[in-house]
Symmetry: C2
Subunit: 283 residues, 2 copies
């Protein structure tokens, strides 16, 4: 198999840009074409040699062997049928954080098999091509969703691509994926955004926060710096799962609330000893 | 001023043990005496040369110039009047995460002025002398509470001690301190404990979590590994402030809940753009 391809990346932000660097580092591409509505981002990507050239979406689709969609999930759904309309032998994949609504949107598309939905479990709270990270993705999981609906050639190349950049392949159907990521990613982000708002709402003496903040606070609130335009569609596209987990999370907070209000140290110990079991999962 | 003292540390865990290492590194002590009810911890501290000797509480008080209390806040309140009963010219300080209940407990004590309540804003989710960190405390804030109630000699030495190990001094009264730490430390811990319980409660396929967890999740849930016996008394001793902040936090989560339930992307953008302002405070 010829693994080197001409690759178009739609959206040269943190994800698309970091992936471009890894593809080049692992010799997976002959050329990288960037597509981005944000001309400033495109220029940064060119200046920093993250991409070889910029192009319009139409020209990029025509020129490329592989088209990687690295834009927010709502924009992916808007653009994906148009891309599939124009492809012939190209491989198309996305990197989005939800999968069901994307796959539903192209379920009956005649070129459905040219696409594979993927979710590399890597990111930071930053965004844009100025935030790219050179050694991203390594040792993280990537989920390939409903891969039996993709042409074997598409599946095999994309699997090889992720393995080559150092990722562990995990197979899930889109429904399972969306449930699991609600727990281990989406609700973490909501708690962090909400914690930041709690502090900004109630704590007026900002210098006091700044002076006292230690590592624990910084790590809990770090995700609150994440991109709103990326996360708003994720929460809405994974609404049912996110609401379910959020409801459980509020219930768990209320258990702490009741135990503290009753000065019930025994109950607090039970709640925290249970929480400590997360060590077995995330050492 | 002779800054070198014979120092007794009550509780050779993460905080007391890490402080012992810094005191020695900065030549602030002639000798460190460890006191700990946990004989295994005391032995580890001796083996790793964190302390020079172990002693009973009574012997340590008698032998030391400075007594540092590094145990949970409820135990500090239980032991502090006994310690002050026995001191004469010694300097006594604690490192606890709440200050009002501790200072209230000794308000009328005849030796009140030998004590200063402090809170170095450093820690990790680990505990015990096996978790000590060599370069702890550096570049973090330490709060000195109600220092005008302490003898100037006590205040000056303790201030010098913290400055020498690289900390920024912040002055607050105990009420202010307890309010601020509810925001920037205590509620972060509760959200993290509750998030861990949310996942452990709802997500039965633990291997799926393990496979998919990325950096964001790990940082949000890290504090859930913290010591229950340290945190239960903190939440109870700072009950009014913690409940107030927790109530606000649940309100903020419910705003996300409502916006997601209504698929209200505009409102989600408003909420997250507001949360992004935390960047100005914690860059």
């Amino acid at each position: 198999m010829n693994t080197q391809k001409k690759i178009a990346i739609i959206g040269i932000g943190l994800m698309g840009g970091s992936l471009a660097l890894r593809l080049r580092a692992e010799n997976l591409c002959t050329e990288i074409i960037g597509v981005d509505n944000n001309h400033q981002h495109l220029q940064i990507a060119l200046d920093q040699k993250i991409i070889d050239s910029g192009a319009s979406l139409g020209d990029a689709i025509e020129a490329a062997d592989v088209i990687i969609i690295a834009i927010p999930v709502d924009q992916t759904i808007a653009i994906l049928p148009t891309i599939l309309n124009r492809v012939n032998k190209q491989i198309v994949l996305d990197l989005g954080s939800t999968k069901s609504t994307i796959l539903d949107a192209i379920e009956k598309h005649p070129k459905r098999e040219r696409f594979i939905g993927t979710h590399p479990m890597w990111g930071t709270e930053k965004s844009g091509p100025g935030s790219v990270i050179r050694d991203a993705f390594i040792n993280r999981a990537v989920v390939l969703c409903n891969h039996n609906d993709s042409n074997p050639e598409v599946f095999v190349w994309v699997k090889k691509m992720y393995e080559t950049i150092g990722m562990r392949i995990v197979y899930m159907n889109a429904l399972e994926h969306d449930l699991h990521v609600a727990y281990i990613s989406h609700v973490s982000h909501i708690t962090s955004f909400a914690l930041a708002n709690t502090i900004l709402e109630k704590e007026k003496e900002e210098t006091a926060i700044f002076d006292l903040a230690s590592g624990g606070f910084e790590s809990t609130v770090r995700l609150a710096k994440s991109s709103p335009s990326m996360w708003a569609p994720i929460f809405i596209h994974n609404k049912a799962n996110v609401l379910d987990v959020l409801d459980e999370h509020i219930t768990q907070l209320q258990k702490f609330q009741q135990a503290i209000a009753g000065a019930n140290e025994d109950e607090l110990m039970v709640l925290m000893n249970k929480a400590n079991q997360i060590k077995k999962i995330i050492p």
